[in-house]
């Protein structure tokens, strides 16, 4: 079986980190796929997907890391060419990655107890985001 689902999000931008685990679990339940994988993919070049223990301390720590590694305050060629002001967001998204595949067994995601699926929107403004879930298996 191949079941396509999608999740629509309104994000605040500016390194907004959003827990999508409940929505992914619900869509997997609706699909009736018990054993297989779910591929979680974010369309767009200024957002990415990862896992995190979703608690306020780590959310702040992860945001601090992005500001340290790929700062907003330095100059980007993208911004000089296009005036978008979101060069840093593109670079962060390319480093993080847009896709994550999680095994499903007996209808459950193989996540750890303190491990949530998170979308990070790096863009410099609020955005509407479409997350595609490709659920495959039996």
């Amino acid at each position: 079986m191949v079941i396509t689902k999608s999740i629509s999000l309104h994000t605040k931008g500016d390194c907004d980190i959003i827990d999508i685990t409940p929505q992914v679990e619900q869509k997997v339940a609706e699909s009736n796929v018990k054993d297989g994988t779910v591929t979680v993919f974010v369309a767009g070049s200024t957002a990415g997907i990862t896992t995190i223990e979703y608690e306020p301390g780590l959310i702040a720590d992860l945001r601090d890391m992005w500001e340290r590694l790929v700062p907003k305050s330095i100059s980007y060629n993208h911004d000089r060419r296009w005036g978008d002001g979101n060069g840093y967001a593109h670079v962060r998204a390319s480093l993080l990655g847009a896709s994550l595949t999680v095994p499903l067994t007996d209808g459950k995601l193989a996540l750890g107890t303190w491990q949530q699926l998170a979308v990070i929107d790096f863009d410099n403004r609020p955005r509407s985001r479409q997350i595609t879930l490709q659920i495959m298996g039996d």
Copy 2:
């Protein structure tokens, strides 16, 4: 076919980098899947998965990189809230990613000659880890 296998590891923590290629190859052989994919997923929010040429020089270089980019020595909100002392490990794991999908052709992983599958345990203490392998295909 969807075949679920798992690998149990005892890790030393502290950026322990472990070659799991032989175990993954063995589980793929047991599955009898010839053409498809294996998704390698580590449960938990302080470990990640990648590929590396598994030799002592690069293992040291990769550990040095993690210490440079996400140092143990700086202050983390997670640690101030929970006293765990492993905030850096969570942040590193979120940057690296918990999942990797490798094509299988004729029963073999599509890895390069000098490319191994590695689990990195960033946590600040030894851990027992469960790696889920979802093997799908014909």
Copy 3:
């Protein structure tokens, strides 16, 4: 259906960033898989895969980021042991990742309008690269 395709590339090395979207789209069209996933995997331990808005400004920005985070100019254990001079390329590749899985719906990749699939060859010399595409679904 499981359809294996491959793409051969000649890269310049030195953080060469190559848009492979047209070739991936063509191979997916040849496969006749309409709904499923394509896993894009680069063999070798000095290259990686990601998505990017493929325009000259961002290509320069992404190269700048890699030089900032994992500089060529510092000393690597790998190079002291083996004299390869490409320790930095291995470390970058391990951080970026060798694999990306993209959903397919109605024969199309779930990419955003300004989101391309890119191979980054970090090695310190031109290379021939083999990209494996595992296309699975109906």
